[in-house]
């Protein structure tokens, strides 16, 4: 059972010192509308997660509040703009900004997506899918190597939610991610909602699919809600909306994972139609209750 994510010690100047791991507890995405509530009540919570790009600003209230909240809680920094799954290498200017942010807030975890979001200089603000074959595998490994080298730390890569697949793919998503982890030493951010969404969208059994992922390398879990649509043939098409409570099917998968891996840092991801803070806190508490009931509760923080 892997619960600790030791910071990778790289010879090439690890500017971010050992900052430990996220605790194996529930966490929430940090939203500006909740800054003051959090500081007033300091709710019992394992950690907060921010989107790196939202804090790539010079000063003002975002840094004011994050600095204060960081002094009370562990932090996960989750990037959405590195385009690691893309054709082009990660943008060095963006890596510089990330390095500065990580230096400033010393987060316990840094993660990004197996997806692309930029092409030809344009940023699409979406997590777009990549084909899975030997060529893309080599390329994504190079990108992860470069990110880990520049940031001087191990990163987690998140399994995507996808709506289409590519004719040219020769590897399964599980195989592809397993190889990424094996070759680069990165960890897995296991998004269980993405597992559910992708499996429904591509006609797979999520319980079988999840076993193809490198679960032993899981450093963090994401739980989120989805929206429901239909494809052209009337088959269900789930959209990774982050705009609804975590679905029962996703809680069910989460229980299976916790039984197998034990408690892990578990984030409730909510980016749209954000409810009042207590509603989100209740979902994080539910994740902790599942872990308390099923895991061995050997909390590592």
């Amino acid at each position: 059972m892997t619960k600790d994510i030791p910071c990778m010690q790289r010879s090439g100047g690890a500017s971010v010192s050992r900052v430990g791991a996220l605790p194996a507890r529930g966490g929430l995405g940090l939203k500006p509308e909740h800054f003051q509530t959090i500081l007033e009540h300091l709710p019992a919570l394992g950690f907060f997660e921010i989107h790196a790009e939202n804090y790539m600003v010079a000063g003002g209230p975002f840094h004011h509040y994050l600095t204060r909240i960081r002094s009370h809680y562990p932090l996960s920094i989750h990037g959405v703009g590195l385009s690691i799954g893309g054709a082009a290498p990660p943008d060095e200017a963006h890596l510089d900004r990330l390095a500065a942010l990580l230096e400033r807030y010393a987060p316990q975890s840094f993660s990004e997506h197996l997806a692309w979001s930029s092409h030809g200089g344009a940023f699409f603000n979406d997590l777009l899918p990549a084909p899975y074959h030997a060529g893309t595998l080599n390329r994504v490994c190079e990108h992860i190597d470069r990110v880990q080298e520049r940031l001087g730390r191990r990163m987690l890569i998140e399994n995507p939610a996808t709506y289409v697949e590519f004719v040219e793919s020769t590897l399964g998503e599980g195989e592809f991610i397993t190889e990424l982890v094996r070759r680069t030493g990165c960890g897995l951010l296991l998004d269980i909602n993405n597992v559910h969404v992708s499996c429904v969208n591509h006609g797979r059994d999520p319980h079988a699919f999840i076993q193809t992922l490198p679960l032993a390398a899981t450093g963090q879990i994401h739980l989120a809600g989805f929206a429901e649509d239909l494809d052209a043939d009337g088959h269900p098409l789930l959209i990774d909306s982050h705009g609804a409570p975590v679905a029962e099917a996703v809680w069910e998968l989460f229980r299976t994972v916790v039984q197998q891996l034990g408690p892990l840092p578990t984030l409730i991801e909510r980016d749209n139609d954000i409810p009042a803070f207590p509603v989100l806190l209740a979902e994080a508490r539910r994740a902790e209750a599942v872990m308390a009931a099923l895991g061995d509760m050997a909390v590592t923080a």
Partner: protein, 257 residues
């Protein structure tokens, strides 16, 4: 074109067919599924603009704003993943968007909103104290050569429209019915503590502050303001900047030795 280039091109161009090389597990048509990506991209970027330009949105309504922003998004997607600053050229786009031509004030309201976002995220900087300012002001002969460094959030917008009143009315300050949109107004935007303030100043005061921001010494800044209003008195401007903690350094002129 490779897979990603085809995919990217079709995301922003509704006339572009669904890229080839995609499949679905049922063997059905992937176009509807590709459409999800298209919608996500365009809708999320329109949402980003709606966050930055909420009063502009209220002035034209949701449907008009989303249609206008959609045209902008497809032609000018972000060049950076830092979306807080997406839309710096959206006000110019609005100014030349034919369906909005009847709303002469709209582009300037958008400019004001963008300056507010800039101010919100601008670097932090410690203000000088009143005592320090009083000490420097005591030597009247040195004043014309004195340069003021001001808070990085500070900017001035000269408008031919009533931008401050329009913006304020949408914050529940004053009544929109009483605003005469064609009345020129000058806005001072700055962050004071954690709040961004939008303050109406006289055109001459705006000119003086703009000159100070450009780095001109006080004497030259006052001269520029006086060319607009002969009776301009800089005391009010200095008092306002001091009260808003906006003066961050005083740089005396280098004396010849």
């Amino acid at each position: 074109m490779n897979t990603q280039a085809k995919f990217a091109a079709a995301l922003l161009d509704p006339a572009c067919p669904c890229p080839s090389g995609l499949k679905t597990w049922t063997g059905g048509d992937p176009a509807r599924r590709f459409q999800v990506y298209r919608n996500n991209v365009v809708a999320s970027l329109i949402d980003a603009l709606a966050d930055t330009f909420p009063v502009t949105l209220e002035l034209v309504g949701d449907a008009f704003f989303r249609a206008m922003a959609g045209v902008f998004v497809r032609g000018c997607p972000p060049r950076s993943p830092i979306l807080a600053f997406y839309g710096d050229d959206f006000p110019d786009f609005i100014g030349s968007f034919p369906p909005a031509a009847g709303l002469a004030y709209l582009a300037d309201v958008a400019r004001l909103e963008y300056l507010r976002v800039r101010a919100f995220h601008a670097a932090d900087s410690m203000p000088i104290g009143a005592a320090e300012l009083a000490g420097v002001l005591a030597d009247e002969s040195a004043l014309p050569g004195l340069r003021l460094r001001v808070h990085p959030s500070l900017s001035v917008l000269h408008s031919r429209s009533a931008v401050v009143s329009l913006w304020a009315a949408h914050q529940g300050i004053g009544s929109l019915a009483q605003v005469v949109p064609s009345e020129p107004e000058t806005a001072l935007v700055l962050r004071h503590g954690l709040e961004v303030d939008v303050i109406e100043v006289s055109p001459a005061a705006g000119e003086c502050i703009a000159a100070i921001v450009e780095g001109l010494p006080l004497g030259a800044a006052v001269a520029r303001a006086s060319s607009i209003d002969e009776a301009f008195d800089p005391a009010g401007v200095l008092g306002l900047l001091l009260q808003k903690s906006a003066i961050t350094a005083l740089i005396p002129s280098r004396r010849e030795s």
